[in-house]
């Protein structure tokens, strides 16, 4: 596997930053990609996340859980990025769900359906309230438990569970609406 070039530690910055980049750039890129669905955007997110670390003051407290911090930074930077854009035209789902979950078909039609489905969810997430989008993404895309999210965001577990429940309900409602049901 090709490693990115290593030009050396940042001047005036702890070598820790380089170690963080080497250890976490893949997970940051992938977390960003799950939300943006776009490699170029994911690259922008990676740069944003580490640029913020680069600019942090010298007395910035040492990160106790770098992976969680960077994961969350990646999710939020990706959500900021997609929210900052004009809304895409919504594509009705009803034309695309006829064959969903009907076997492992990998034909062009099936691939198109899957693409539409992913795009639909990504567009729906960018319309959520920022905190709900963050909690939803951390739980369903990044695999965080309710307790982990509660710890990272300094929330109660019950609060996380309620937010996830309401967010799911809202997304289901959007799906229903796109399917033309009342």
């Amino acid at each position: 596997m090709n490693q990115p070039p290593r030009p050396g530690p940042f001047p005036g910055q702890p070598a820790e930053l380089e170690e963080l980049f080497q250890a976490h750039h893949v997970s940051v890129l992938r977390a960003a990609y799950r939300i943006t669905g776009n490699a170029t955007d994911a690259e922008d997110v990676l740069q944003t996340v580490f640029a913020r670390l680069l600019r942090r003051p010298s007395d910035f407290p040492v990160m106790e859980n770098a992976a969680a911090y960077l994961h969350r930074s990646a999710v939020n930077a990706a959500l900021d990025l997609v929210r900052g854009r004009q809304q895409d035209k919504s594509v009705p789902l009803d034309a695309h769900i006829s064959h969903l979950a009907e076997g492992p078909a990998a034909g062009p039609d099936r691939q198109q359906e899957v693409r539409e489905l992913r795009d639909f969810l990504r567009r729906a997430i960018r319309r959520l309230a920022p905190r709900a989008a963050e909690i939803f993404s951390l739980h369903y895309f990044e695999g965080y438990s309710n307790a982990q999210i509660a710890s990272v965001l300094d929330l109660s577990r019950a609060g996380v569970a309620v937010t996830l429940h309401r967010t799911r309900a809202r997304l289901q409602e959007e799906i229903r609406s796109f399917m033309g049901e009342e």
């Binding site: 890129l29 992938r30 009907e102």
Partner: protein, 200 residues
């Protein structure tokens, strides 16, 4: 009734699963990482000069907006341009300012007071202040306002001596005479007074 494939809950789970299963290509990951690392390294070399060598440390939105004209004219050093882009990325207000600048409309930072108080609230706050000041003044009227002119009281009787204190000396006071601001009685004397503003 919904079949399973048309169930919104099932469709949502399927969409989540599809997104989780979609992996960014490994080669694309490494190429992106290499580009970002190179840019970070380049920026890190010029950051100390670009950001910290002058008094114009970029801390607030106003700092970034001040750089928008130079940014648009491509006159900023790479590191500063990069910082402006990064800030604009995450700041909708400054992004709007940049877009406005590009379209010819200058958007400045509103003074804090204007941002905090809508016009109707300004009038409400002014009215509340006026009422508060009025009530406070009424409560302290005896302390703040000068006493009205005229006599303060009337001597009812004198046991011993009572003198009015004035610039010209001391006049002897007797029962039934009106009192001004100051008077004194020697040790051993007594003079019951009737206050003029007493209700009794």
């Amino acid at each position: 009734m919904n079949t399973r494939k048309n169930n919104p809950d099932h469709i949502l789970d399927q969409a989540i699963a599809e997104i989780r299963a979609e992996e960014m290509d490994q080669a694309a990951v490494e190429q992106a990482a290499a580009r970002v690392w190179a840019r970070l390294s380049q920026a890190s070399h010029s950051l100390p000069q670009a950001v910290h060598s002058s008094d114009d440390v970029l801390r607030t939105c106003a700092d970034f907006r001040a750089l928008i004209p130079a940014y648009r004219a491509k006159q900023l050093p790479d590191a500063q341009a990069w910082l402006v882009e990064d800030h604009i990325h995450g700041c909708p207000a400054c992004r709007s300012a940049l877009e406005a600048a590009q379209s010819g409309n200058v958007v400045g930072l509103k003074p804090v007071a204007q941002r905090i108080l809508a016009p109707q609230w300004k009038w409400a706050v002014a009215a509340a202040l006026a009422v508060g000041v009025g009530m406070g003044a009424w409560q302290m009227r005896d302390t703040l306002l000068p006493a009205p002119g005229g006599p303060r009281g009337v001597v009812q009787s004198v046991t011993g001596s009572l003198f009015r204190v004035s610039d010209t000396g001391g006049d002897t006071l007797a029962a039934g005479m009106e009192l001004g601001e100051s008077f004194r009685s020697p040790a051993g004397s007594a003079a019951p007074l009737f206050a003029c503003n007493a209700e009794a």
